[in-house]
C-alpha cells in the first residue's frame, strides 16, 4: 500500500489540494492548513465558517468563501487577500473563470468580480444552487430552480435559459465548453448540449451527487452518490446520450468523493467509510490507498504531476498519499 502522511485536524475538511509542493486543507472553521513535511502553517482565512473552496487553475492560490461574507485568495506562503465582501451573506458557492474572474453566490443572487475589481450582480427569482464559468468567453452558468442559465458577464445580451424541471443544486461546464451539467436535489444529474439544448438525463443514483470531477481532456465526468464511481462518457459528439457509464470500484458503501487523475485515465475514489482507492478506467484495476476508518471522505485531490493525493474527511482526519513510494 502507498505511504500516507496522516494529519488530524478535528474539523470538517471542506476541500484540499496542492499549491506547488505544499498540501492545503480548507477547514470548516475558516482555517487553511498548509503542510509540507515538518511545515504546518495555519491561516485563518475566514472569521467564521468556510463554506466553499476552489484551487486556482494556475496552481498558485486557493479561493475560499465563508459565512463571514468574504471571498479570500490565499497563496502558498499564507498571504491572504479579500477579493469580495457582502456583509451578512453566506457565500456558499464559488467558481474561478477565465481572465481572472471569480463568481460567488448567496441566496438568490450571484456576483462576478472581474480581475480589475469591477463587480456585476445577477439576481434570480429562485435560489442559486451553483455557479460555474464556461471555459471560453466570459459566460456565467447558474443552477437554479427548474432551469440552468447562461449569463453574459460583460455583454448586455439576454441570459439563455436551459429549462429542466426540478431543483438544480450545482453546475459544471465540460472543459471543451460543449456541455453543461447540473447536480439536482433528486439523486440525478441533468445535462444539456449547449449548441442545440439537447437533454441528457443521468439517473439511477441511490443518493444525491455531491462530488464530481472531469477526467483528463474532459473525456469522462466522474461522479459520487452511488456504490461505485459512476463515469459518464463525454468524448463523443452526443456526450453520454444512449451510452452506459463506467462503474468503477464497486463496494457495499457509498462513494462520497471523486477526483480524476490530471493526465491518466485513473480516478481516486473516496467512500463514506473513509476508504480510498484508485481505479484505472480501461481494466477497472484497483489500488487500495487508505483503509476505512468510519468517517466519510469529504475532499480528495491530485497534485499537478499526478503522483500525490490529498484527502480529508468529515471527522477532520486528513493526509497525503504518495503513490511513488
Amino acid at each position: 500500500m502507498p505511504v500516507i502522511d496522516p494529519r488530524v485536524f478535528d474539523v470538517y475538511v471542506v476541500a484540499c489540494g496542492f499549491l506547488g509542493e505544499a498540501a492545503v486543507f480548507a477547514l470548516g472553521d475558516g482555517a487553511l492548513r498548509v503542510v509540507l513535511g515538518e511545515m504546518d502553517l495555519t491561516v485563518q482565512a475566514h472569521d467564521g465558517g468556510l463554506l466553499a473552496a476552489r484551487f486556482a487553475a494556475d496552481g498558485r492560490s486557493i479561493l475560499t468563501s465563508g459565512d463571514d461574507g468574504r471571498v479570500v485568495r490565499t497563496d502558498a506562503m499564507g498571504a491572504a487577500e479579500t477579493l469580495f465582501e457582502k456583509k451578512g451573506k453566506w457565500l456558499d458557492q464559488l467558481a474561478e473563470g477565465p481572465q481572472g474572474a471569480i463568481a460567488t453566490a448567496a441566496g438568490r443572487t450571484a456576483w462576478v468580480r472581474l480581475a480589475d475589481g469591477t463587480v456585476k450582480e445577477f439576481a434570480h427569482d429562485k435560489a442559486v444552487g451553483g455557479v460555474a464559468f464556461l471555459p471560453k468567453g466570459l459566460r456565467l452558468a447558474v443552477a437554479t430552480t427548474d432551469k440552468a442559465m447562461l449569463h453574459w458577464v460583460n455583454a448586455s445580451g439576454a441570459p439563455v435559459d436551459l429549462p429542466w424541471k426540478g431543483a438544480h443544486t450545482g453546475v459544471t461546464a465540460s472543459p471543451d465548453g460543449r456541455f453543461l451539467v447540473t447536480t439536482m436535489q433528486e439523486p440525478a444529474l441533468h445535462g444539456w448540449r449547449i449548441d442545440d439544448m439537447k437533454h441528457m438525463r443521468m439517473t439511477g443514483y441511490p443518493q444525491k451527487v455531491k462530488s464530481i470531477s472531469w477526467s483528463a481532456k474532459g473525456r469522462f465526468l466522474a461522479t459520487a452518490g452511488a456504490n461505485a464511481a459512476i463515469l459518464w462518457p463525454f468524448f463523443s459528439k452526443d456526450g453520454p446520450m444512449g451510452k452506459a457509464p463506467l462503474e468503477l470500484g464497486p463496494r457495499d458503501r457509498i462513494v462520497s468523493a471523486v477526483a480524476c487523475h490530471p493526465s491518466e485515465d485513473v480516478v481516486a475514489i473516496g467512500f463514506d467509510d473513509g476508504m480510498i482507492m484508485a481505479v484505472r478506467f480501461g481494466d477497472s484495476a484497483e489500488v487500495l490507498l487508505r483503509q476505512a476508518d468510519g468517517a466519510p471522505i469529504s475532499a480528495l485531490a491530485w497534485d499537478a504531476a499526478g503522483v500525490r493525493i490529498a484527502f480529508g474527511a468529515e471527522s477532520g482526519a486528513a493526509g497525503v498519499v504518495d503513490i511513488r513510494r
Binding site: 470538517y12 431543483a167 433528486e186
Partner: protein
Amino acid sequence: MTSPVSSAIPVTVLTGYLGAGKTTLLNRILSEDHGKKYAVIVNEFGEVGIDNDLVVDTDEEIFEMNNGCICCTVRGDLIRILEGLMKRKGRFDAVIIETTGLADPAPVAQTFFMDDDVRAKTRLDAIVTVVDAKNLLARIDDSPEAEDQVAFADVILLNKIDLVSAEEKDRVRAEILAINPEARIVETERCAVDLGEVLDRGAFDLDRILLVEPEFLKSDHHHHDESVKSISLEAGDMQPEPFFAWINQATQEQGPNIRRMKGIIAFENDPERYVVQGVHMIVEGDHQREWKPGEERRTRLVFIGRDLDFAALKAGFDACRAA
C-alpha cells in the same frame, strides 16, 4: 467512531402566527444561562431583534420533488444552510429554525424525512408553536396556516394567558385539542417557560401518545368545523406484514389530508417497540427500545389532519391486529 444517531444535531422548529410571541421566546432561549449554544435560522422577513453570533438569514425556498407528488416539498434553503452548519460542528449544540408567521410547516418537517443528508446529520427534536390566547380563534377562522401550525405542533405555547378570562382560555384549549389532541399545551405569559419544556424533548415527545386520552373521545363538544381532524387508533399486538402494507397504502391514499402521523407499534413476537412517524405521504419507522418488564404491550397510532376517513382507517388498522 461515533454512530450517526448519537452525533445527530437536535433541531427545534419554532412556528407561530405574527405577533404570537415567537421572537420573545427565541430571545429567551438565547439569553438564558443554560450553557448551550444554538445556531438560529431566521427568515429575513421575520420579526427582528435577535442577539446571537450564529444567526443565519434565509429566504424560504420550497423545492418540489420531481416525483409527481404534490405533498413532497422540502425547504431547499434549509438543506443548504444545515449542510453549511454541519461543517462547523462543535461550535453549537443545537439548531433552532424560526419560520415566518405565514409558513406552512409541512415542507420544513418533510425536509427532515426526505433529504438524506439532513436526515443523517440532524434530528427533528420538536415542532413548537407559539399561539396567542387572545387571538387564536379568530386566526384559525381566517387563515389555514394558523390551523396548520397547531396541527403540526408537538408543543404548543399558549401565550398571553394573562389577557384572557378562564372561560376564553378553556375555549382556546378545546379548539387546540380538537385540531391536535396529542400536543402538549404549556400556558405562558410573555413566553416565560422552563426551557426544558420546549427544548431537547427527543423523539417528537413520542411517548406521550401512549399516555394521552384523546380529548374528543371524552367530551362531546362540537366545533363549527365538523371535518375529522384527528384519529387515534389502539390495539394490542399487530402483524407486521399486513401493517406495513396497510400504512403505506393508507398514507398514499389519504396523504394530502394527513398532516402528521405518529405511533408506537407492538408487533407480535417482537421484543422491541416500533415507532412510526410521518408527514403527508412520507412514513418512516424504526425500532426504538425493548418493551420494559411489566410494560403493557399497547399499539397506538394517531393521525392528525383534515377530512380524514375514520371508518376506512379504522377498518384497515383493525385488519392488521394479531389474532
